[in-house]
Symmetry: C2
């Protein structure tokens, strides 16, 4: 494959100049441009995906802004989004805003209308959402993983019914006979994951079960935090027979803590999470969880962002992602008759 | 904080035009430029990090190309690299090449000399390294996580002494009395991780121990592959008392397999990896590993890339990262007298 660099070398210009000639974006001296076009013809250079996309008057580079690349959920989303973007002829650049709205604003300032022709913003905090709204005039922005479909934001978004995810987890534990249930609520990048816990509690209440405040902890969403919180939870309430965590990292940390406490999962205590990250099936015992179908949401998000760039006026303000689904593995089981 | 978008709105231009005025990069109509500068003055707009960096004639945006964002090692590197870049006044854009050299080439074509003023390329295959060499004329490229310091590439690089990492793992297992040791060699994005296994085997051989070929498996570096390979290894050689894996994912998968086989870690079988990803201390039992000090390597890489951009002629062709270090946790212990 002939590369842009080889064209540049033959034409004795920089790669940027070749790129500018292909894009007609900056004034290139006519003699230089002719030399570049001659080199392209002689070498039989085929412009890459990007150049082709530009020819059609389409944008070519998307950006994905996420808050915490160290949380394994985000890399899984990136992987699927990058593949979806590329198969549609677009590049995807990823910006990690490090859980800091100011950093997010700096990146958005940097990329809006220059590098990126459209930006996907993953669940962030309210301050940043407001900033996105003010930037929307210079570049199309699509929020994704919006957790509350019943309260749409001012920007176009892809919403996931996280309350339903919580409800499915509750129904599963109730069906297994659990009544003494602890809750670990993650305080994630988009704020407290309370759409999930609200959905969970609604089902419990409908069944006539009230969760004691002492059996609920709010913590950062990491394995380490889930571990520490579960130790505390079991010290507070040793009679618990199940733990619901609003995300898999917390649930995995909780299961590790139970091993340390020599409580068997699921015979003594059942554990369930939400998300279905890769690690959920890789730990032992494999984690029961509610899958939010990360790859499908990523693909939908990329598809909708491209539409938003191409025909902004024809797009719905909110699109609902496929519904979450219960995935039963080895970490949940019937409440033991002995423990009550 | 006044944003670029607000300036654009007041001056009735796009954000891209404001950006162009700040950079003097494209011809902006003088009247338009004056309107933009007036808006900047009236609003008291302070250009962001990027604009300030550009004023000093410094580049502002770095790119990091990696092959497999789904492998948890990479997000940890990204996190540290992004923080290092930002604290030096640079943005970092991440490209996931999805383990495909052709995709890597397309990204590099896209970003070289346009979006990015310098590119960090993480351990990739030989074909891609050659491509990088041909692109080096249009943008500074620094390879990082180069696994064989004794054989430097044609490009500037940051090398990690992975043979030493393997040697440290071997010395640790020998000291604990292990003689029947299985090996899981990862076939990673940069090819077979044989610098690590060579370092390991050299120490074993120096101690008069030959590893049987049947106790060595070469596999993709993932938890799932480590799990499957360990099942196979223990079926082939039930007398093994220790397993060395060239990376933590394989080691974690192996430990999970041993649990399934009801072999206790470390009483029956010790397990050791290389890298020290976050997960290594989060699993139960916590994994003994050789830390390659990911964050330190990421910071060094960013620092060296910036120098390469600023003063390309004064930079050494290879810089050695801080040496790997043994981190003893709970997954390794003395060989039991019973098993021999």
């Amino acid at each position: 494959m002939i590369t842009l660099s080889e064209v540049a070398k033959r034409a004795q210009v920089t790669a940027a100049t070749v790129s500018n000639v292909l894009r007609n974006r900056e004034k290139v001296h006519p003699e230089t441009a002719e030399r570049v076009l001659k080199a392209i013809a002689e070498l039989g250079y085929r412009p890459n995906l990007n150049a082709r996309a530009l020819k059609k008057g389409r944008s070519s580079t998307l950006a994905l802004m996420l808050s915490n690349i160290a949380n394994p959920f985000y890399p899984e989303f990136v992987l699927a989004a990058e593949r979806a973007a590329r198969s549609a002829g677009h590049f995807l650049l990823v910006c990690n805003t490090d859980d800091d709205a100011k950093v997010g604003q700096a990146y958005l300032n940097q990329i809006a209308g220059t590098f990126a022709d459209g930006v996907l913003v993953m669940n962030t905090d309210i301050a940043f959402n407001e900033f996105c709204t003010s930037t929307m005039q210079s570049v199309p922005i699509l929020l994704t993983m919006w957790e509350r479909p019943e309260a749409p934001p001012a920007l176009p978004c892809i919403a996931v019914d996280f309350a339903r995810a919580g409800a499915l987890a509750a129904a599963h534990l109730l069906e297994l006979g659990h009544r003494d249930i602890g809750m670990l609520i993650g305080d994630g990048c988009g704020g407290l994951q309370n759409a999930r816990s609200d959905g969970f509690l609604a089902v419990l209440r409908a069944a006539g079960i009230e969760t004691d405040a002492a059996a609920v902890l709010q913590i950062r969403d990491s394995i380490d935090a889930g571990y520490a919180a579960c130790m505390q939870l079991m010290a507070n309430r040793p009679q618990l027979t199940a733990i619901f965590a609003t995300n898999d990292l917390l649930a995995i940390g909780a299961a590790q803590a139970l091993i340390t406490l020599r409580r068997t999962v699921p015979d003594d205590v059942s554990v369930i999470g939400i998300t279905d990250i890769q690690l959920a099936h890789q730990v032992h015992p494999a984690l029961t969880t509610v899958a939010i179908q990360t790859a499908a949401v990523a693909e939908l998000s990329v598809d909708r962002l491209i539409r938003l760039i191409q025909t902004p006026d024809q797009q719905p303000s909110m699109v609902l992602a496929p519904p979450p689904e219960l995935v039963v593995r080895a970490s949940t089981g019937p409440r033991r008759a002995a423990s009550s």
